[in-house]
């Protein structure tokens, strides 16, 4: 039974690492452009065969990633070339990277401050979750199935996931309001793309498991004390 438990915990670790790797791989372009290649991308676009645009080269120019939804799907505002059909197809964008020279203001300062705080909170929560999970695995392998420590660790793991979820949402909300106040795209509305609620569900689930263990321990103690 312990072997199966350990294998399942290892699978959980693999699944989480896989999820993070997929997330990073999907967004790696966004990360690299944001951090390193802003100006180079703009310069390359200026000299591209598709026609250069007059892009201001300013230190304040930065890439901003926005989630958008078309105001009217029937209005053909964008098109993309489809190699399969050999023609330009009507397209509606869902996400855009906008390079603009929005100047720093109080709102951006608040966002700039919120970003690292939320990121640190998120990373600390996930790190503490993993630490508690490792302690749980060690405890179970030491036959401490019904100890108070195990049930409190489950509860803390659940709280960590909920805190991580709240940190993600806080960052999204800050970014959304700041973006909306500084960027407005024709034919598109800027929308908030909140994190999926798996963390919240899993966090509440862990707290439920902790309560179950607490009840099981109480019944076990009562059963042990029944002569």
């Amino acid at each position: 039974m312990k072997t199966r438990f350990n294998i399942l915990c290892a699978l959980l670790a693999v699944a989480m690492i896989f999820g993070i790797a997929i997330d990073f791989a999907t967004n790696r372009k966004a990360f690299s452009v944001s951090f390193n290649q802003g100006r180079e991308s703009a310069a390359a676009f200026d000299s591209s065969a598709e026609g250069p645009m007059k892009v201001l080269d300013s230190k304040d120019m930065e890439w901003y990633y926005v989630n958008i939804v078309a105001k009217d799907y029937h209005i053909q505002t964008d098109s993309l070339y489809n190699h399969k059909t050999g023609r330009y197809e009507h397209a509606v964008l869902a996400e855009a990277a906008v390079r603009t020279d929005v100047k720093s203001d109080a709102e951006q300062k608040a966002y700039t401050l919120a970003g690292p705080i939320c990121a640190i909170t998120y990373i600390a929560s996930i790190g503490y979750f993993w630490l508690m999970l490792i302690f749980c695995i060690i405890g179970v392998n030491r036959n401490e199935f019904f100890s108070e420590g195990l049930e409190s660790r489950f509860a803390r793991m659940g709280i960590c996931l909920i805190i991580a979820y709240v940190a993600q949402w806080t960052l999204e909300i800050f970014g959304y309001f700041w973006t909306r106040s500084h960027i407005s795209l024709e034919n598109y509305d800027i929308v908030i793309d909140g994190p999926n609620c798996y963390f919240l569900c899993f966090g509440i689930g862990m707290i439920i498991v902790s309560e179950l263990f607490k009840m099981a321990r109480a019944y076990k103690e009562e059963n042990e004390m029944t002569i």
């Binding site: 103690e221 009562e222 004390m225 029944t226 002569i227």
Partner: protein, 75 residues
């Protein structure tokens, strides 16, 4: 726990040791000790019947209710 288990009194009356009683009842010495020290949460009727049979007494001779004592768990 307001229920007091007076096994010691009956053991003394019957001049029996705890180990003997535990063997006759079919419980471990540890469980009998839990019973004697008042830490037990519940007693099965089968165990109570075996105790009465081994000690040749009635349940009322072993069990006593003292309403003044508060249950530690309820606190």
């Amino acid at each position: 726990m307001p229920i007091i288990v007076n096994v010691d009194v009956m053991l003394a009356k019957r001049k029996m040791s705890s180990g003997e009683l535990a063997d006759k009842v079919g419980i471990t010495a540890a469980n009998l000790s839990i019973l004697k020290t008042g830490k037990a949460k519940a007693v099965r009727f089968s165990t109570l019947a075996a105790l009465c049979k081994a000690l040749d007494c009635q349940p009322g001779d072993i069990l006593e209710y003292q309403p003044g004592e508060e249950d530690e768990d309820e606190q």
